[in-house]
């Protein structure tokens, strides 16, 4: 029953999509007709149908309707309700339906909120957006239908990957998708603006909201993924430069660059073409991300659903979209107003260009690092791994000038500023940061090649962004985001330098000394939960003054049978105590890994601050 509802509503959505695509070129030539007529009702019907199908799938998961193949493959009656619901998008078919849902809802919001803009621009945006929706509908219906029926109906499902049964990971995909899909509107509207010859101030003003919204969701989505990796994957890190992590970071770099460019376009009517190119690139990267994750060509912990034939479809679809956009770009490029004026070297415009240069560099490092091994394997069958050392070696040296530019740039004026703007105050701060870094590194006793300049640059940026709160010229949201970023870099650095780790094999009753602390494995007990059993260990970690108890678990899930390690983390403002336990095959010993991670919580707080700056900016613009 639910399967039929889901299927039929998707087919109706497909029909509306085709109707809109056919009708829009006709409407385009009639100038006086408003979009709010027939097309608007078609879009509403389409969104409604996709919402119905999505709800049908959620209900199928809640009531464990195993006549549905997706539910059978990814759920189990013993799962808690919350994970039954989140299981809806914890798999390939459901997550694509979620993509589609967000696509159509975003289009509806776009149609409602763009009434003040020209008809041609709106219809063209709808047209391109509907092509994307059509592509996804076809993809879902013919290669990844979440509403396949099973007969005879099985009594029990096979369960959800226990690693995914986690609150952060339950909301991580929807948030990330809001970011990814938001870029589709930017893509469609930039092509529409290009064709209708309206890449200008008004467009910039309108699209800025969408850039911000996508950027905020993407930032928070990445944050949630990192937090999950930190406490669930059991190695105490939050970023491994894993291909699937990289794939979410690439559109982030691009969006950040685009946002800064859009600001210039809005204020100074410059960099039109560049804004369009960035808009197209951002969406292409989001789509490629979906392709890379879903096709299974990445060797990664995240590829929990893969099937090469699906990859071929997305690859073709992606190819068509990119070719189409490149074609449109070159065909309509001459419509862009070309008021080529050189920018003065010391000005906000140049600062934004420099920001873009670095963003594009970081993007290219991540992009090349991610796809190069794939190409190499195809070309001459050599398998190489590109991991953290590669990214650190290429990114860190460039981070140093980037941070310094970021400290100076935002304080520059539009059009032309005085060269002596790099003034005494900044010089003072710079000297101060040299002294602080020097003392800090001396005390810690670290002397890597890049440590000192990196610390100087990040402390400099940190001081300047704090000082900037007293300057009235720039707006508050920017100050918060930039301060958040400097705090982020600084916390990551301090965390990296001061983190301490101890690993040993222990059994109950064992005691180990580490630094000035004593780690005691006090006890072990078995707990029964609804869908897993757990071995809960109790560790006492004490130094002279105080002691804490950490209770990491080893969970044995039954559906599907998997063993996971749950770290126990005690967070304070100064540092995290992280302890994780792993089963060894031998004799009652457990591998115990204890980490002290200073300022860990500030990494999360700083990313929240960065995103909060964006939220504040939207509220201020529209409220």
């Amino acid at each position: 029953m639910l399967n039929q509802i889901g299927n039929y509503s998707l087919y109706i959505a497909l029909l509306s999509s085709i109707l809109i695509i056919i009708q829009s070129p006709i409407l385009l030539n009639r100038n006086n007709i408003n979009v709010s007529g027939r097309i608007f009702s078609l879009i509403s019907i389409q969104s409604l149908m996709i919402i119905i199908s999505f709800i049908a799938l959620i209900i199928a998961f809640i009531i464990s309707d195993f006549s549905n193949e997706t539910v059978y493959n990814n759920s189990h009656t013993s799962k808690p309700l919350f994970y039954k619901i989140s299981g809806t998008w914890g798999n390939h078919e459901g997550s694509l339906l979620l993509w589609l849902l967000v696509l159509s809802i975003f289009l509806l919001i776009f149609t409602i909120t763009s009434k003040s803009l020209s008809n041609k621009y709106r219809i063209l945006t709808l047209f391109f957006q509907e092509i994307i929706i059509l592509g996804f509908l076809l993809f879902i219906l013919f290669t990844s239908n979440p509403f396949m029926s099973l007969f005879p109906i099985p009594n029990e499902g096979t369960g959800l990957n226990p690693l995914l049964q986690d609150p952060a990971l339950a909301i991580h995909p929807p948030i990330l998708y809001l970011g990814y899909v938001g870029t589709s509107i930017i893509f469609s509207s930039s092509l529409a603006a290009l064709i209708s010859g309206s890449v200008n101030k008004t467009w910039a003003k309108h699209i800025k909201n969408w850039v911000l919204v996508s950027w905020i969701f993407l930032s928070i989505g990445i944050l949630l993924g990192s937090i999950w990796a930190y406490y669930e994957l059991g190695w105490g890190g939050f970023w491994f430069w894993d291909p699937v992590e990289n794939v979410s970071l690439m559109p982030w770099f691009c969006l950040t660059a685009l946002f800064h460019t859009i600001l210039i376009l809005e204020k100074r009517e410059m960099f039109h073409s560049w804004a369009v190119i960035l808009s197209i690139t951002t969406f292409s990267l989001s789509m490629s991300g979906t392709f890379l994750v879903r096709s299974g060509i990445l060797n990664s912990i995240h590829t929990f659903a893969n099937d090469p034939s699906r990859g071929v479809f997305i690859l073709c679809f992606l190819f068509i979209l990119i070719t189409l956009s490149i074609f449109i770009y070159f065909f309509y490029q001459n419509k862009i107003k070309n008021n080529f004026t050189k920018t003065y070297i010391v000005s906000k415009e140049t600062a934004v260009l420099v920001n873009n240069l670095f963003m594009m560099f970081f993007l290219s490092v991540v992009l090349i690092g991610t796809v190069y091994p794939i190409f190499l394997e195809v070309v001459n069958n050599d398998k190489i791994s590109v991991g953290p050392p590669f990214y650190h070696k290429l990114i860190v040296p460039f981070l140093i000038p980037f941070l310094i530019f970021m400290a100076i740039g935002p304080n520059l004026n539009w059009i032309k500023d005085k060269i002596n703007k790099i003034n005494l105050q900044q010089l003072l701060f710079f000297i101060l940061s040299i002294i602080i870094s020097f003392i800090f590194l001396k005390r810690v006793g670290i002397s890597y090649l890049f440590s000192l300049p990196l610390f100087i640059a990040s402390i400099f940026l940190f001081l300047i962004t704090i000082k900037d709160f007293s300057v009235k010229k720039t707006n508050l949201s920017q100050k918060i985001s930039h301060f958040g970023f400097s705090l982020f870099i600084l916390s990551v650095l301090v965390n990296g330098v001061l983190a301490k780790e101890y690993s040993s094999n222990m059994k109950v009753g064992d005691e180990r000394k580490f630094l000035n602390k004593t780690i005691k494995f006090e006890s072990l007990k078995i707990n029964e939960s609804k869908n897993y059993q757990s071995l809960e260990a109790n560790f006492k970690i004490s130094d002279k003054n105080n002691s804490i108890n950490l209770k990491p678990e080893i969970r044995v899930y039954d559906q599907p049978q998997t063993i996971t390690s749950e770290a126990d983390i005690e967070s304070t403002l100064y540092s995290d105590n992280f302890l994780v336990l792993n089963i060894l095959k031998n004799d009652g010993f457990y591998n115990v890994r204890y980490q002290i991670k200073p300022f860990m919580i500030w990494i999360w707080i700083s990313i929240i601050l960065i995103s909060f700056g964006g939220i504040l900016s939207i509220v201020k613009r529209n409220g």
């Binding site: 994957l233 890190g237 491994f240 894993d242 291909p243 990664s300 912990i301 590829t303 050189k342 920018t343 003065y344 070297i345 140049t350 260009l353 420099v354 240069l357 594009m360 560099f361 290219s364 490092v365 090349i368 690092g369 190069y372 190499l376 001459n380 050599d382 398998k383 190489i384 791994s385 590109v386 991991g387 953290p388 050392p389 590669f390 070696k393 290429l394 460039f398 780790e501 101890y502 690993s503 040993s504 094999n505 222990m506 059994k507 109950v508 009753g509 064992d510 072990l524 059993q533 071995l535 044995v556 049978q561 792993n582 089963i583 060894l584 031998n586 004799d587 009652g588 010993f589 591998n591």
Partner: protein
């Protein structure tokens, strides 16, 4: 499933008879962080607790005890398992583009900006 836990408990009971393992040395940690666990999905040998990773850690410890330096250990592993095992690809004729391409793009972008900017 209950049996599995029972076995664990039995292991724990007889565990007291066995010798404890020495903690891995820092050098093993440092080397194994740069190695891919070949049978895992996107994990380093350092992070993994699989049989493969554990035996690799012992192998690395043995090599260190034999007096081999980091380079020699990496080379030994590469000859045995291929380039795939190290996370830090060397610059060879296969990988020079990997390292160079981002830098070329940066220089290219910088030139574009310089042409757009005037000093006056």
């Amino acid at each position: 499933m209950k049996i599995k836990i029972l076995v664990l408990i039995i292991f724990y009971l007889i565990g007291s008879l066995n010798l404890s393992y020495a903690a891995n040395s820092e050098k093993v940690d440092q080397i194994s962080k740069n190695l891919r666990c070949l049978i895992c999905q996107g994990q380093s040998i350092y992070d993994s607790q699989s049989d493969f990773a554990l035996s690799m850690k012992i192998l690395i410890q043995n090599k260190i005890d034999e007096g081999k330096n980091n380079e020699q250990i990496y080379d030994f592993l590469k000859s045995k398992y291929g380039e795939w095992i190290v996370y830090d690809p060397e610059i060879t004729k296969n990988t020079f583009l990997l390292w160079l391409l981002p830098l070329i793009l940066f220089v290219f972008g910088a030139i574009l900006i310089i042409r757009k900017v005037s000093i006056k």
